[in-house]
């Protein structure tokens, strides 16, 4: 089986080699090269860029990253269980002892704990992209006194 993984690794390296071959060899042989400083300038819609693009990421993205880590690790933990799940049930059925639901309940408790975590994060508002927004308050709706702000989608399609 390790040989199979070696193949995967070599496939990966070969993919990189393929790109390197094209970009660094073929293009270098075929494409023209005319040096001109303006060509190498950074694109910012035709204006000279103000400041550097290497800035700090917005905090919100880190929150997303944390949520990802929690649930992705959960999924990773569940994969081994999922693989043997059928065998466990078959084993319990064959033995005729114990509850067939036992492997399920074990993992259900695990999912439940994470589900509580999900609800907690949700209620705390960390899943709302807008929450952390500092700028202006959201525009009010309806915009004008007297207008209902309701819209009849049915009518639009008529």
């Amino acid at each position: 089986m390790l040989f199979q993984y070696a193949h995967a690794l070599i496939g990966f390296l070969f993919g990189m080699l393929f790109v390197a071959l094209q970009v660094f060899l073929l293009v270098r042989l075929l494409a023209p090269r005319v040096k001109e400083p303006m060509k190498d300038s950074t694109y910012e819609c035709g204006e000279p860029p103000v400041g550097d693009a290497w800035v700090r990421f917005d905090m919100r993205f880190y929150t997303m990253a944390l949520i990802f880590i929690i649930f992705e690790v959960e999924a990773v933990f569940l994969f081994p269980w999922a693989t043997v799940y059928n065998d466990l049930i078959a084993g319990l059925r064959a033995a005729g002892t114990g509850n067939v639901l036992f492997p399920f309940i074990e993992v259900f408790v695990f999912i439940l704990v994470l589900g509580v975590g999900l609800i907690y994060v949700w209620k705390k508002g960390d899943m709302d992209w807008v929450k952390a927004m500092r700028g202006q308050p959201k525009q009010s709706w309806p915009p004008t006194e007297g207008s209902t702000g309701e819209r009849d989608v049915e009518k639009d399609v008529a």
Binding site: M1, F3, G11, F12, G15, S41, A53, F61, A82, W122
Partner: protein, 410 residues
């Protein structure tokens, strides 16, 4: 199980474990796979152009080759002759490494996905898991591209890509998990073989929850390969070109190829997990080696299998394109909402439901034919109903010739 590797080694007359055998086998698979990736790229880009054109009352490329089939090849050659530009402000090493990483992570997927029972290059026992892992690797390449460009639009695109791919990895992983619960294996080969037999043995019809699991997988896979309506990382009207704004010529072509390669991979995974992989759904065709016999039988059977999985995958690719040319793009916060507030809880519930079903129903080898037939019938019925519904909608829009009610002023 006899894999491609041992098969080829034996044909070539090497010991499978010898260095020569190893190198020879690699040479034999690497070249065709490279060709296949390129052909998949060419065909999908051509399909994209043609499908979008016909959706939009156009004809699309017509000049190069029959119906413009070679247009993409011509474009590729043109891109090969384009000057190689690296922005002066960029981080040169990462800038060069990014397309390599993105392409390689797609490329390696082709080595793992089975084409037929024998034509699988690396038959990993953790197949699904491995694919999910290299899928995330692509996100690293994309972030690398955006960051190293030192361009604000690229950076925005990269951050969007990272957020999107990373968060949709969760529902994607959980829907894969549901399939693993049913199949009891993570090997793509095993999963496919669990779906042999008639059409209703496919996992899609295995239990009532599988359709929902497939839909979640499909939506998440659209986000994973950054297809509309989840094309935020390269939203051309907002971020110019997103993470590959600074990439041009062949470097851009590599990103482009990798994107279409990724589309094939997610579609092929969907086919393996839900649509019976290389099985046609007709037992006679799937086991034709039994009636033909000998090496010819094996070859024919594998050819049918490879053809089947490729056709099925391309059908799914066409659905992806259909969606792209129909829907507007969603916004970043809506994208996150959809993932975290809808797909994630739903996929958790579905996982619980599928495992409960499995516990009560018990693992049945070859699937539950009665259940499958009911599910298949329900699917066909609902498709017909939806077609009717669509007919009714178009009839309604024809009636719009009578002018709509307009609020009048004054």
């Amino acid at each position: 199980m006899e894999s491609y590797f041992t098969f080829v080694s034996s044909v070539l007359g090497f010991e499978p474990t010898s260095l020569l055998g190893f190198v020879g086998a690699i040479a034999v698979w690497a070249v065709p796979i490279t060709a296949f990736v390129s052909v998949v790229g060419l065909v999908s880009i051509w399909l994209e152009r043609k499908i979008s054109a016909h959706i939009q009352c156009r004809v699309g490329p017509m000049e190069v080759g029959p119906h413009g089939a070679l247009q993409t090849l011509a474009d590729g050659i043109k891109l090969l002759g384009k000057e190689d530009l690296v922005p002066a402000q960029a981080d040169r090493i990462l800038f060069g490494l990014a397309p390599m990483l993105v392409f390689a992570s797609t490329f390696v997927g082709f080595a793992v996905i089975p084409f037929s029972q024998k034509a699988v290059i690396a038959d990993l026992n953790l197949g699904i898991f491995f694919l999910a892992a290299v899928g995330s690797l692509e996100a690293i390449g994309v972030v690398m591209a955006g960051w190293s460009s030192n361009n604000k639009w690229s950076l925005f695109g990269a951050i969007r890509a990272a957020t999107q791919v990373v968060s949709y990895e969760i529902p994607l992983g959980l829907s894969l998990l549901a399939v693993v619960v049913v199949a009891g294996s993570m090997s793509l080969n095993d999963i496919t073989q669990a779906q042999s037999g008639w059409v209703w043995n496919w996992f899609l019809f295995r239990n009532p929850f599988m359709w929902a699991v497939f839909l979640i997988y499909f939506i998440a896979s659209l986000a994973e390969c950054k297809r509309a309506p989840f094309d935020l990382p390269e939203a051309e009207s907002e971020l110019v070109s997103g993470f590959h704004t600074e990439y041009s010529g062949m470097r851009f072509a590599i990103f482009f190829l990798a994107e279409y390669g990724a589309m094939y991979i997610v579609s092929a995974i969907a086919v393996v997990l839900f649509f019976g992989g290389w099985y046609t759904g007709i037992p006679f065709l799937d086991h034709i080696s039994g009636s033909i016999g000998g090496t010819t039988g094996v070859v024919v059977e594998n050819l049918i299998g490879a053809g089947t999985i490729i056709v099925k995958s391309f059908l799914l690719i066409c659905v992806q394109m259909w969606i792209r040319w129909t829907l507007p793009r969603i916004r970043l916060d809506q994208m996150m909402d959809l993932c975290l507030k809808y797909l994630l809880p739903f996929s958790l519930v579905l996982l619980v439901a599928v495992s409960l079903w499995q516990a009560f129903q018990g693992p049945i080898d070859g699937g539950n034919s009665v259940m499958g037939m009911i599910m298949l019938a329900a699917t066909v019925a609902s498709l017909i109903w939806m077609r009717r519904l669509a007919g009714r909608v178009s009839k309604a829009s024809a009636l719009r010739r009578e002018l709509p009610v307009v609020k009048t002023g004054l």
